[in-house]
């Protein structure tokens, strides 16, 4: 909460300086494209998005825009996990600072607010961080693309795999806001659909909870076979750690686990977890090449799927800008998004893919198991691949989302 005001002022000052500069050049050159990375710079999601997400946006610019001669500027801000703060920043960016695209936004509650602002101002929102499947469902709009993953995909992949292996009764420990509720809802759908049942749930205050032992004990006494963690980031780390300490023998299912969480937990504790991601640095030659380029900028870090998504979505946007021309791309957000949907995507992180009519980016989803310390061969060697959900099955079918953009 505290750092932010300073950071905001810093970025505002930078933006003010930047708006002065282009005026002189404007006659001779095309205008500058402006990317705004709106992320969690101080809270529980800082490590899965945060400063590295900004570095990933820079990397996309370095990889593509420089060669094409597109002038790009990047600004950043902290949404503090508060929808009102996030919406306010986005409004200011769009209205006063000429930002064309908001990227990242790891927090579902904030993301729904930003999607609304992007639509209202006819700008673009590339949702890389948020999870809620409502972004491409009831709340979808023509200015938003949901890139990396969503609650339906997680529920389908991780939830489905666990139900199949015998976990038919569930207890949820849920972060009490949009994301947790959406994840619990979507997972419940798969559990009951497969003949299982949900015996209870604890919805804990978010943010600010660090001690989960109380909810874990309630889950334990419920007798459920699977404890589903409908939370993310630091909350998941603490939940898993404490489940281990309290000798909980039920399957603890991290429904959304990022590699930064595994890194924080250590393989001793995280080993054996079954999780779903759409990006892993050591998946193939292209992901490794991307990760090496990033490591050259940010030593000792591997990108989470959220951060990789910021790279890939920025890259695709810049390609579309090159295709449409800077002036046309800046003029109409919805038209640019429509163009982005028409052009197939291709990047080092997610490979070849497409963007669906409802704004859903389509790519495969991977079911991983976290390696034990004995299996891991070096730093960040964390996952082994269990299964791949093909791109056309990984996400909720278009007709089930209820997105108003889809005419049936």
């Amino acid at each position: 909460m505290r750092l932010t005001r300073r950071e905001l002022m810093g970025s505002a000052a930078a933006a003010a300086a930047a708006t002065i500069l282009p005026v002189g050049r404007a006659r001779a050159q095309t205008p500058t494209i402006k990317l705004g990375v709106l992320t969690d710079l101080s809270g529980p999601y800082k490590d899965l998005g945060g400063p590295v997400a900004v570095d990933c946006a820079r990397l996309a610019v370095a990889d593509y825009a420089a060669a094409k001669g597109i002038a790009v500027e990047i600004v950043q801000a902290d949404h503090q996990n508060k929808p009102d703060v996030g919406a306010e920043i986005a409004r200011k960016w769009f209205d006063q600072e000429g930002v064309d695209v908001v990227l990242d936004v790891p927090n579902s509650g904030v993301s729904l607010a930003i999607a609304g602002v992007a639509k209202e101002k006819n700008k673009i929102f590339m949702a890389d961080g948020p999870a809620t499947s409502n972004l491409t469902g009831a709340k979808c709009n023509a200015n938003t693309i949901h890139w990396v993953y969503d609650t339906w995909m997680l529920a389908h992949s991780t939830g489905g795999a666990l139900v199949k292996s015998g976990g038919e009764s569930w207890y949820f420990i849920t972060a009490d806001y949009e994301f947790g509720k959406a994840l619990q809802r979507d997972t419940t759908g798969f559990v009951t659909g497969a003949g299982g049942k949900v015996v209870g749930a604890s919805q804990y205050p978010f943010p600010g909870t660090t001690d989960f032992s109380s909810y874990l004990l309630q889950a334990q006494s419920s007798g459920a076979k699977v404890i589903g963690l409908a939370n993310a980031g630091l909350d998941t780390v603490n939940s898993i750690k404490q489940a281990k300490e309290f000798g909980i023998t039920q399957t603890v299912a991290g429904l959304l686990v990022f590699i930064s969480d595994v890194h924080a937990l250590g393989l001793e504790t995280a080993g054996g977890l079954v999780i779903s991601e759409t990006f892993y640095w050591d998946l193939n030659d292209r992901t490794r090449a991307f990760s090496d380029r990033l490591a050259a900028k940010v030593p000792g870090k591997r990108a989470t799927m959220d951060q990789a998504g910021v790279y890939a979505s920025a890259l695709h946007y810049l390609k579309t800008v090159a295709d449409m021309g800077v002036v046309a791309a800046k003029a109409d957000g919805a038209a640019t998004v429509a163009r982005m949907k028409a052009i197939p995507t291709d990047d080092d992180c997610f490979g070849a893919g497409t963007i669906r009519e409802d704004g859903r980016k389509i790519h495969p989803c991977y079911l991983f198991q976290v390696k034990t310390p004995a299996e891991s061969k070096g730093p960040w060697d964390y996952y082994k691949l269990l299964a791949t959900v093909p791109a056309d099955e990984a996400f909720r079918p278009l007709k089930d989302g209820g997105c108003p953009l889809i005419k049936t």
Partner: protein, 295 residues
């Protein structure tokens, strides 16, 4: 199965035990705050940050110097205590005689700076600190599995609270301290170096926070926000117990932990608010706090 208001009794026992663990931290931290407030009249908002520093010093001792948990329990509070002494000498001392608010603002600012620097350095996920080998493993209480380490936390915290209470209430040093709280100029006239006493008291209060920090390090991840999550509840504890009351802080700390634990069973969404509800009720009925003396 025996149930109370629809919840199994065994589950409630578990929650009560967990409440004791949380209460142990509330008690330890509010104790330090009460001591500092009693003598310095400073509302030490940096307490949470210093608690967090204690945990990080313990982590640093292990990572860089190979000094383990048991030694860290003593060394880390000393290191952070010295830091506190420096803080008092350099900054807080200059506010003597001014309104409470200045001390509050200064220490709040210190907390922001310390936390900001640590967040910049370590990120918000923080670092992991392993449970010491001797305290690993579960303790089966029949109604629940309590990690051995948490049982140790309750014992260590209770012991430390008792020791501090005895030191202040039953020893000559404690008597001097209490006298200085009542009337500093008079005590000074008796030849006691009050400014030094004040500095050392602040150092000791800070060391208590750091001790709690070391205790907390193996429980959750050691992260820069661990103090700010706790500090507001701890302030509520001090207010409910009665500003400056040592015994009040200890009893209230454990009591609030238990009340919070029970709320988590019956209405988890309200667990973050219950402490403040209690605070409002207590302030309405007893404005000086449960153990406080009316001014």
């Amino acid at each position: 199965m025996v149930t109370i208001f629809g919840k199994p009794l065994l589950l409630l026992y578990g929650q009560l035990t967990l409440g004791l663990v949380n209460g142990a931290f509330y008690a330890l931290l509010s104790l330090g705050l009460a001591v500092i407030f009693g003598l310095l009249n400073v509302i030490n908002f940096a307490h949470g940050a210093l608690f967090m520093l204690g945990a990080f010093v313990a982590w640093g001792l292990l990572t860089y110097l190979g000094i383990g948990y048991w030694a860290a329990l003593i060394v880390a509070p000393c290191v952070v205590g010295l830091f506190g002494v420096a803080l008092e000498r350099v900054l807080i001392k200059r506010l003597r005689g001014l309104d409470h608010l200045y001390g509050l603002l200064l220490t709040f600012g210190c907390a922001l700076v310390i936390e900001g620097l640590m967040r910049n350095e370590f990120g918000s996920s923080g670092v992991a600190y392993d449970i010491p080998h001797a305290l690993k493993g579960p303790l089966n209480l029949g109604f629940m599995v309590l990690p051995l380490y948490r049982a140790w936390v309750v014992i260590a915290a209770t012991g430390m609270c008792l020791a501090t209470w005895l030191l202040i209430e039953k020893t000559r040093l404690g008597a001097t301290l209490r006298a200085a709280t009542e009337n500093a100029p008079l005590v000074q006239a008796f030849g006691v170096d009050v400014p030094r006493l004040v500095t050392l008291t602040y150092g000791a209060g800070v060391a208590l926070a750091a001790f709690a920090g070391v205790l907390a390090a193996p429980m959750n991840s050691v992260n820069p926000n661990m103090g700010s999550n706790l500090i507001v509840v701890v302030f509520a504890t001090v207010v409910i117990g009665g500003m400056g009351s040592i015994l009040g802080s200890i009893v209230t700390g454990f009591g609030l932990g238990i009340i919070e634990g029970l709320t988590k069973v019956y209405y988890p969404e309200g667990s973050a608010a219950v402490v403040y509800v209690v605070m409002v009720i207590v302030l309405l009925l007893r404005p000086a706090g449960l153990f406080g003396r009316a001014a």
